[in-house]
């Protein structure tokens, strides 16, 4: 897929992380992570399962607190925000969950309305309907509007999950394993959707994955998380040209197997 030249502002990091550490009990997951994510770019965080990729984006969105270090999102230090300020920041940071996390007691329409109604209480019914239909159309699933999540396929659920985050028009998108558990064709569709979202909504994104095809298709830059730190960063080709044995084994496992 040929992508248009992206406007990445290298002087304007929207996410800046320094010396981030996180442990769960006696297990130290993140051990001094440093990272800058620039406005307009898609950054892919690669790494094996259990290396703390999801923990990293949960800290960025304020779902988890860091043990040490600084996490600055859109100019605000996340750990120091009060509850109300954190809520306001979250309106600008969309989070697409690995298992979509759709509210299973609500229809697709209600799932999409939920964040909108709660955060824009003065909207008229017609405006809500227009917004819901607009984002559903953007992910190509307008026909599922009255369905329950249990009636959707895995790929459709991922798309609806993405649509639910888009409805608040976030500046930053955090994708947690967007292609996990999907067939190769649906993976390609999701990769294309991630690129379309960036193009249409001008978002900055962090994409957590261990799928190298997803990384190659969606990432402007790749950062590889190894042993609790970013071992190497760069374009897909730069990262996998590295002679680091851990990086090579990751590449070989994905493409040789």
């Amino acid at each position: 897929m040929i992508q248009a030249e992206k406007a990445i502002d290298k002087n304007n990091p929207v996410i800046s992380i320094r010396g981030l550490q996180k442990a769960f009990g006696s297990l130290h997951i993140l051990r001094g992570v440093d990272l800058d994510v620039y406005k307009g770019e898609n950054l892919v965080v690669l790494g094996r399962s259990g290396t703390g990729k999801s923990v990293l984006i949960k800290i960025i969105s304020g779902l988890l607190l860091p043990d040490q270090g600084m996490v600055n999102v859109l100019g605000q230090e996340v750990a120091e925000l009060r509850s109300r300020e954190l809520m306001e920041l979250r309106l600008k940071v969309g989070f697409s969950f690995q298992n979509s996390a759709l509210y299973d007691s609500m229809t697709v329409r209600e799932n999409l309305e939920f964040p909108l109604v709660r955060n824009s209480r003065n909207l008229k019914r017609s405006q809500i309907n227009d917004e819901v239909e607009s984002v559903l159309d953007a992910v190509g699933l307008l026909q599922t509007i009255e369905q329950m999540p249990s009636e959707l396929s895995g790929g459709q659920r991922k798309r609806i999950g993405i649509a639910r985050t888009l409805i608040l028009r976030p500046e930053i998108m955090l994708y947690d394993e967007p292609t996990a558990g999907l067939d190769p064709i649906t993976c390609i569709e999701i990769n294309n959707l991630i690129n379309e979202v960036q193009e249409k909504y001008k978002t900055t994104a962090i994409i957590i994955t261990h799928d190298l095809t997803c990384a190659k298709e969606t990432g402007d830059r790749i950062a590889m998380l190894l042993d609790g730190q970013f071992a190497i960063q760069g374009t897909f080709e730069e990262v996998f040209a590295s002679e680091d044995a851990r990086v090579q084994s990751f590449y070989n496992y994905n493409f040789t197997k």
Binding site: A23, G25, S26, L27, H28, I29, R31, K58, S61, L63, S83, M87, E88, R90, L91, V93, G94, F95, F97, Q98, N99, A101, L102, Y103, D104, F114, P115, R118, N119, R121, R164, T165, L168, D227, G228
Partner: protein, 268 residues
């Protein structure tokens, strides 16, 4: 040998006393924080009136069939079991008084609370537990909605408001069942029966029952929500949350019953 012993990322855990005792103290502290957070959030906007009404419907209206059946049977059975003892002393005319005191003071609040703990508490534990393990609660949080307020506060308020109403309803249905039994055997009139029922009840009885059922309702809500909201370990955790919600709520209801009866009797 510990399989993680050679993993440099894992540090040995230190306990203050022992793992079990530490866990108990931490859970008690967690529940204290949970209740404290409820009282903080309940007074702060936004107020989730729609969700509170929805939960009141779920807790109250949907429990009516089960409560009606149980209440009616309790009234009939208690009357039938009490009659022979009173008949030995030729005192069956005291049945309405005995039944009203037993039902209003003890049976209606206890039966209702125990049924609600089983039905509502387990439902809350399982529902919130399932939402927790499937990251739906996190999804609410990242979409700038306070899940504690939306899910927990509304449910605790619903049980606190609805259990006292259900207790009143149970008492009424149980008394109707008792009347049916008394009328069939003693040919007592409806007016006579209820006149004796109300004569034997005092303001303290009604007040203590209302207070007790409010405490029971709050307990069922807090325990159900706490177990569900803090569940872990996937589907196994959801089952455990539902189970713990019922067991802990029932245990606490009995403890509260003993304490409140002791306090009320001191004023009698």
């Amino acid at each position: 040998m510990d399989p993680n012993s050679d993993n440099p990322n894992i540090q040995p855990t230190k306990y203050v006393v022992s793992k079990k005792l530490d866990d108990i103290f931490l859970t008690v502290y967690d529940i204290y924080q949970f209740i404290l957070r409820f009282f903080k959030e309940v007074f702060l906007p936004p107020y989730e009136f729609k969700e509170i009404i929805h939960q009141c419907y779920e807790v109250g209206f949907k429990s009516l069939p089960l409560i009606s059946l149980t209440g009616f049977i309790t009234g009939v059975v208690f009357t039938n079991q009490s009659r022979p003892s009173l008949a030995n002393f030729g005192a069956t005319s005291w049945l309405p008084s005995l039944i009203s005191i037993a039902i209003v003071r003890a049976l209606a609040p206890l039966v209702t609370a125990l049924i609600a703990a089983g039905k509502v508490g387990s439902n809350m534990g399982a529902e919130l537990g399932s939402m927790k393990v499937t990251e739906q609660i996190d999804a609410m949080e990242v979409s700038a909605t306070n899940p504690f307020k939306y899910l927990v506060v509304s449910r605790i308020l619903a049980t606190t408001f609805m259990i006292p109403l259900l207790v009143m309803y149970t008492a009424f249905v149980a008394l109707m069942g008792a009347y049916l039994s008394v009328h069939t055997n003693e040919q007592t009139s409806f007016a006579m029966f209820f006149s004796q029922v109300f004569d034997s009840l005092s303001f303290l009885d009604l007040f203590s029952t209302s207070f007790k059922s409010t405490v029971f309702g709050f307990t069922i809500g807090v325990v159900g929500c706490y177990c569900g909201y803090n569940s872990t370990k996937g589907t196994e955790g959801v089952g455990k949350a539902a189970n713990s919600a019922v067991v802990a709520a029932m245990f606490l209801i009995f403890v509260e019953e003993i304490v409140i009866v002791a306090i009320v009797n001191a004023f009698r």
